[in-house]
Symmetry: C2
Amino acid sequence: MKRRGEFELIAEVFAPLAKVGAGAFTSAFGLGDDAAIVKPPPGMELVVSADAMVRGVHFDHTTDPADVGRKLLRVNLSDLAAKGAMPIAYMLTAGWPPDVGDDWIKRFAAGLAEDQANYNLALIGGDTIATPTDLVLSVTIFGQVPSGTMLRRGGAQPGDDVYVSGTIGDARLGLLVAQGTLKAADPDAAFLRARLDRPSPRMRLGQELRVVAHAAIDVSDGLLADLGHVCEQSGVGAVVEEAAVPQSAAARRALALVPDERRSLATFGDDYEILFTADGNDASRVVALANRIDLALTRIGRIVARPGVRVVDPTGGEIPYDKRGFQHF
Amino acid sequence: MKRRGEFELIAEVFAPLAKVGAGAFTSAFGLGDDAAIVKPPPGMELVVSADAMVRGVHFDHTTDPADVGRKLLRVNLSDLAAKGAMPIAYMLTAGWPPDVGDDWIKRFAAGLAEDQANYNLALIGGDTIATPTDLVLSVTIFGQVPSGTMLRRGGAQPGDDVYVSGTIGDARLGLLVAQGTLKAADPDAAFLRARLDRPSPRMRLGQELRVVAHAAIDVSDGLLADLGHVCEQSGVGAVVEEAAVPQSAAARRALALVPDERRSLATFGDDYEILFTADGNDASRVVALANRIDLALTRIGRIVARPGVRVVDPTGGEIPYDKRGFQHF
């Protein structure tokens, strides 16, 4: 497999990415140095988060390398969105196995460059290593929020309503399309696959939620698992109305083909929507927000004092969910 | 292989690390959130750097997991030292393959905890994933310098002297000890192996160099390669006197057993000493500094206008070096 040496790769493929979307708040020295300076403007606080992906778990040999680049940035951007933060820059650490060549890396970098421009962030450093076998990609992302306003997992209170943005479960069905298990026709198949490969981090929603939400998290491990993280950090519980969990029209049609998957939609994850809680008296503010940013915000349940996440049917009867979400191991 | 689930692992093994060495300048929310805030004090600038390690390249099955933890932090601390920065905190991204169990991870975390206390830094976040095969560990480290004073690779000027701290080549010989190729006796064998497994990042030297050095870099890729990085970024060249490159007494004795390795010492890397350049008129300041911090600072050559790094013998004749350093692939 033809591949450039480490320093050539950095100079030719990655150094140009240090120039895309570079703002006033970083100095990466063209990646020619071994460190960068990050300095948010006065009154802003620096928020940092990290997410990694590995071939065979988060994507596979058939995934377009440009989509891998886009998704790597978007899952990290989604973390910032759930904090109410705007992106500044990122560091990339890549472990390349022997079977990954220049072509793959260049196409991956093209995906990064595209989303750097879309989301206004710059590459400011990182590391490249050779791995024996696995293709491992890790990003540390830097964002900013007005000081003291970062959204947290730990602020949910009994009586809060629980909301989720967009639709849940498309990525799970997209994976079944990719694996050939779900024989949906286009445009549904393409839509579901795109929701898996090119999630839409809810940056604008995150910005707006800083003044409405009590707690927020992005849905990556699974709706119920992530709601569980919020409850645990907040010292509360939640009741979710299963029928209220929003599904796309494509997902509803696809579920007719794979009815056994119904229960997996709220536990698979990879949705990159934002789950948040807000005071029960603020329902009209949430509706107004949804209209203003043109994004569905659906009330799916409420926060209660009793710990644990319970899922109920329209009569209030509890629906057992053995699996709550994706555990990475 | 027995291993906890992801969330148990974070709660039991890594959350305690968020409490060791935590300073006033970070909030990691006990790792219970998905992001952290990093805020250097007024007048200080945030410096970020990243370094990764993978089993089979940077360490192997025989390396003590605690040493892997220590080295992972120390190679990142060494990057900060070369910038004149003091450590604040770090993010850890770990990819665990199926054969790595709880015991390995706990001992790795014990090494991290020990060096967090030694170097006064805290774990503030990161990510854990399962990998199919490789054990991959990546750190993004955060440090601080007085605004505008970060040491760079790009400031070397013709007429500067080139210095290196400590001794060069011990890690290469330590690897030969580990591999069984070099049959040195203790205490030399233990010393060389310790220099490989437990490098000493030169934090205090880095602090002091902010007011003396024109350019600095830590020696990780190999002395000649890293000097080459400085020259390239500075638009200059260098002449190195091979006989002046400092060797430990243990290295000199070991070289008698493996004389063919003589030329590899300045190209192997993994030394984590600091190479720097200073004005030719500042030699007495460098000597005074070496005495003050009790660390050898050896003049090994000079910066010249002509690009490239040349190695010379005592008569000024050029010594050919085909390989200048370690390329990761």
